[in-house]
Symmetry: C2
């Protein structure tokens, strides 16, 4: 055991050495994009992802302009450049865009067509691009995109009516998964049909819906994995480590990493190829199933992502910083992890009491400033570094007990 | 050289291992102070120190309330809880304090008496305490405090009139240093009298001033050093590494660390003893002269400090986070550095053009959002990690060229 620990430490030392060498940047060879200050970054949406983007933007010297419904929204609290409005109302989106230099969003479920028009009218770029948003906000073209680049995913069928629901049952067998094509997150809009009775019940109540559905084969997986990738307008590219994520009631409870999988490298290469082909710009969260020998993409989210929150403390540069650099067209450089193991633990609301919390030692605490403590709501998260992923996670489950939500 | 590098890496590996073990916190033995949300932290002042405190407060789930003169102030930009006002106007300070749960300040030069009264009336605690602020904002009682705890500093005399100016000349010899007792920073309010002619000129124009002066012996030093210490209301204590700082035109240009000095450990112990004796709460910046064999305190600043900005990226927890924890009475835990070498480089204004900047790779960029680019003004700073302090500094001097201010 002691020998093993020494082995790990030598490994860390070697890796650190390599990483520190990576810091030797050939400045003279780099053509840097220069930005004039002040530089205004528009963020559509006011939740925790927008908040963390805005906080990082302040640090980097960017002016974060936030468009959201309420001045009490998590992101509205952290900037003086907040505007009241709805990104889905074309005129409000347009007015907001006309006051910034570049824009991004925290949710892929805005009306892509309306945003596309606002971009065209104002000539203010929005990343990821509205057409990419349109493709990825809908599970049907998202699946087709994955197919086109030969990236494994679960078998699927479109379900618009009862006839197609029957076909899905016949083709995929039981259990299978029925998902709304759009607006699904954290398990909302997802139904697992486990047996004949459930299918009969569903068949009886099934109604056509203008959003539409997709049926997916149920994938028996060993664990869920996740990955953040970021691609800049200048074409530089960063892939964060593979991590394991654990969902409770379809909501992410924790993430630990780094994780390994024998097929990860070729899988990652195919994903990168896909992103390059569609000229993707920004951060993208990739959720995967590990079936043992295979990796399958479960979902793509074209934005900063909960599964990447560990990067705030565990990596040399976090997803929010790199996402902002990417939409500005700045080089992303290299990232490296700051410890051999790390973990993230979501602080989910109970809806039962006012939160009481303390700031545990050796644990990084992040809170979103949400007023209402609703059951299962993402209120904040904890990060931890340690010598192994499991030890980091163990500390977080211990520390979690110090916080009453 | 290779052997030496291996030695360094082994050292890092060993140190990392010890540090990771420190993460084993005996939760069951810790009585944690629980805080109810929302928890409002008042910050007096709106400059870059207030801004960095506010950004960290948001992350930690605290509501940063800022009192400053202009809504364009660096800290006013980063919170929706900004109030227009002057901390030196008693009624404005009182009204502000009555709306928060605990308060702190970014400058020790506010009227301590007025703040003391506001604290008494509102019963809202302010840290560091107003009486500590009063002692440390005036170089005369500050020197006397250092004397009381037998902490080396340069010989000094009070100078209120021409007779005392003559005594200073006779006692300290030439050159000597004349400083305003209060309101001095970045070289403002400091005069070095180098020769007889300068003394005669000074003698002729010397006028009594209600702030008063202090004369100090000129200390020929080899280098300047700096140190951040933080003490919590729960009495836990953290000392960051010793660092070297370099001043250009009396303004800090860079910091690199860690630095070594043979007398550092006993010196540090005396400083800690002093802070414990006066029940100090908060962060304190300690500027020192290294004369080769001796360490002398040059100045104490009872607040977060420019010489501690490297902690934002180079340490496991930064001065802003620990200062906030300290005024909340939370345990500070341990801190450790994330690389064997680190540096900080101030981005000082030239007053000549609109800033143009880029975000260099492998360098952490921090910007304060100041509207006006004045000559010598602190506009932002860069941090860097590397295998040695010198290498980190070298990278920053290179990266600095990419930023036009």
């Amino acid at each position: 055991m002691i020998c093993h620990e020494k082995g790990v430490n030598t490994l860390i030392a070697q890796r650190k050495s390599v990483e520190l060498d990576h810091f030797h940047v050939p400045w003279e060879k780099i053509t840097m994009k220069m930005l004039s200050l002040p530089y205004r970054v528009g963020i559509l949406g006011g939740g925790q992802l927008a908040r963390m983007l805005a906080l990082k933007a302040h640090q980097m010297g960017l002016e974060p302009h936030v468009l959201s419904l309420s001045h009490q929204d998590p992101a509205a609290q952290v900037t003086s450049w907040w505007s009241q409005g709805d990104p889905n109302v074309p005129l409000q989106a347009e007015r907001f865009l006309s006051g910034v230099d570049v824009a991004t969003f925290e949710s892929e479920f805005y009306c892509a067509q309306s945003l596309s028009q606002a971009v065209e009218k104002t000539q203010v770029p929005l990343f990821p691009q509205p057409n990419v948003m349109a493709t990825l906000q809908d599970r049907w073209p998202q699946k087709q995109l994955l197919d086109r680049y030969n990236i494994s995913t679960s078998p699927y069928l479109s379900v618009q009516n009862r006839t197609e629901l029957n076909s899905a049952h016949d083709t995929l067998g039981l259990p299978f998964v029925l998902k709304k094509r759009r607006f699904g997150y954290d398990g909302y809009g997802t139904l697992i049909i486990k047996d004949k009775d459930q299918f009969t019940e569903l068949y009886q109540v099934f109604k056509e819906d203008d959003v539409g559905f997709i049926a997916e084969a149920f994938v028996p997986f060993e664990r869920e994995l996740a990955l953040m990738m970021i691609r800049s307008r200048d074409k530089s590219f960063v892939s964060y480590p593979l991590v394991e994520s654990y969902q409770q009631n379809s909501r992410c409870l924790w993430v630990k990493g780094p994780a390994q999988h024998p097929n990860f490298v070729p899988f990652k290469e195919k994903l990168q190829e896909m992103l390059e082909s569609i000229n993707y710009v920004g951060a993208i969260g990739i959720e995967m199933f590990d079936t043992g020998d295979r990796l399958l993409v479960n979902e793509l989210a074209p934005r900063v992502h909960n599964s990447g929150h560990y990067t705030m403390d565990a990596m040399s540069e976090d997803q929010f910083s790199l996402h902002l650099k990417s939409i500005l067209g700045l080089p992303l450089g290299d990232v490296h992890s700051l410890a051999p193991g790390f973990a993230m633990y979501n602080l989910l609301g109970s809806g039962q009491s006012d939160p009481q919390w303390t700031l545990p030692e050796a644990v990084y605490f992040h809170w979103y400033g949400k007023g209402e403590n609703r059951d299962g709501r993402k209120m904040g998260h904890l990060n931890c570094l340690a010598s192994t992923p499991d030890l980091a996670l163990k500390r977080l489950t211990d520390a979690r007990r110090l916080i009453q939500i």
